[in-house]
Amino acid sequence: MEISQIATIASKEFWDRIRNRWVLAVALVFTAFALVIAYFGAAQQGAVGFKSIDVTIASLVSLVIYLIPLIALILGFDAIVGERERGSLDLLLSMPITRLELLLGKYFGLAGALTFSTIAGFGLVAIVLSSQLDINALFHYFGFMLSSVLLGCAFLSLAVMLSVFASDRTRASGLAIAMWFFFVLVFDLLLLGALVATGGQWGGEIFPYLLLANPADVFRILNIFSLDDVRTLYGLTTVFPPALANPWLLGLVMFAWIAAPLGIATWRFRQ
């Protein structure tokens, strides 16, 4: 594997997103939402202004869990199928580059753009709030930013996998939306439904492990378990055994969610 080939593709993908202001737009969206949530998150309780980092992160988690998967899926769904449909894939593959290098280059370039906009967007808020945050709060906030990046990378990996399997961009976009619905909206409902329908008899023991089968839930657990104030507010994650809530273990699971779809995509792309 030649790193320079991966870097060439990744660099192009990254700078394409900088040039077309995609990174700027997404960063501004994150900044705007984060600021609004930080200052008005406690409005329902009759107060405005920054109150606590735990409440802010908990509110941001609720936002990010919808927003970042959607942005990542939109970003990556046509990574390969788009090149194929436009007719530029054959030219790229006629170069001295392997399919794995092309796929990784695409992924790393897009992941770089997503990471940059996430860190820039939420980082700006951290700077604005820095005077009101102690070291511990900053640590939690950076943990939230890091897990947001991992969440984005996991869904981007799924999107790139879709883009390899899909025969055209229309199907790829449909699959991406279906995937967002499944992981972000339907998955938890299914689990909860199964649990309620069986009166808690079915799946009680494997329930926490089933949550690991959804990167959005892994992200939620990663953040909520680090916040004592709000852990109890979350229904599903309270059933999660603390032993499984080790941030390193959950981080590893997130990396598995990044690596596995990329592995499957590589296998399919080589067929």
Binding site: E2, S4, Q5, T8, I9, K12, D16, R19, N20, R86, G87, S88, D90, L91, L92, L93, S94, M95, P96, I97
Partner: protein, 313 residues
């Protein structure tokens, strides 16, 4: 296996060798037992109807898709094997309907491909100049006309000083002047020993320019050789156009009457007659007996189009 980067191919030796190549998509035989040897320094044409298997053959020669059976070697090495990087660095490819990146400038496009090819970035500006795009180097590709995009695609194919060029319908969208410049570059490349494989639907355009060509139909090579050899192999008739005064038409008929020629067609100011190649000199001798009554004489060889339809039908 020999090191491709240092290997020198003897002029006339097969630099692209395809043997028993098949490509099947389920029941469809896109390529069906192709044997082809393309020599070093040759400008080789590959012609056929749409769906004849040319593009599939191209993609297999480039290593983009694997053959179902058989083998293709470039300079003795498998293009998709372990040595593929070295092989690919010797290849330039201009796809049909080249699609480049609209958001990049012409120069940035070449920089991107030069990095992928491992070519020097210093080659990019001269490559643009060579295809007549120096003036548009800093313009975004989205502002390029179809012909300019095609020329940029060609410049891309020239990066890394390839020893083998695959050109799929390379003159699509080019105006006559650009077509002439394009073939001038090909002539120059041929003099430098570059091997070129070209497809085109404009048969008249390539018939005088290729060294040899292969006619593909239904996934098979129907014929392969020089245009002249294919004409002779097809044994298509020659056409004589004899310009004479209307009152001398009968004299022409009489002069040719004893020869095995086709029907003699009378037109306003000339007669047209077709004959087999072996009768050509006898026809000329017979017409010479008419002396000054023959005002002009044209002999038309079968065109590549005639040959193509002869083989493909």
């Amino acid at each position: 296996m020999a090191d491709i980067s240092t290997m020198q191919t003897e002029t006339g030796a097969a630099v692209i060798a395809a043997h028993g190549v098949h490509k099947h998509y389920g029941p469809i035989h896109a390529v069906d037992g192709v044997d082809l040897d393309i020599r070093a320094g040759e400008l080789f044409g590959l012609i056929g109807h749409n769906g004849a298997g040319k593009s599939t053959m191209f993609k297999m020669m480039l290593g983009l898709i694997p053959a179902t059976a058989g083998e293709i070697r470039i300079d003795g090495a498998r293009v998709s094997g372990g040595n593929f990087r070295a092989v690919r660095r010797t290849i330039g490819y201009l796809p049909e309907n080249v699609v480049l990146y609209d958001n990049l400038t012409g120069l940035e496009t070449l920089h991107f491909f030069s990095r992928l090819k491992g070519a020097s970035p210093a080659e990019c500006a001269p490559a643009l100049e060579r295809v007549g795009l120096a003036h548009a180097a800093k313009r975004r590709v989205r502002e390029y006309s179809k012909g300019m995009r095609q020329r940029l695609g060609f410049a891309q194919a020239l990066l890394g000083k390839p020893r083998i060029l695959f050109l799929d319908e390379p003159t699509t969208g080019l105006d006559p002047e650009a077509i002439r410049s394009f073939y001038a570059i090909l002539r120059q490349l041929r003099s430098e020993g570059v091997t070129m494989v070209i497809t085109s639907h404009i048969l008249a355009e390539i018939q005088e320019r290729v060294d040899r060509l292969a006619i593909m139909t239904a996934g098979k090579i129907q014929a392969c050789g020089t245009v002249q050899a294919l004409r002779e192999q097809m044994d298509l008739p020659l056409w004589f156009t004899v310009r004479v005064a209307r009152e001398d038409f009968e004299a022409v008929r009489t002069a040719l009457g004893h020869l095995p020629v086709g029907a003699i067609e009378a037109h306003d100011d000339h007669v047209a007659v077709q004959c087999r190649r072996e009768v050509k000199m006898a026809v000329i001798e017979a017409l010479a007996t008419l002396g000054g009554r023959v005002r002009d004489l044209t002999v038309r060889e079968p065109s590549l189009e005639d040959v193509f339809f002869g083989f493909s039908d």
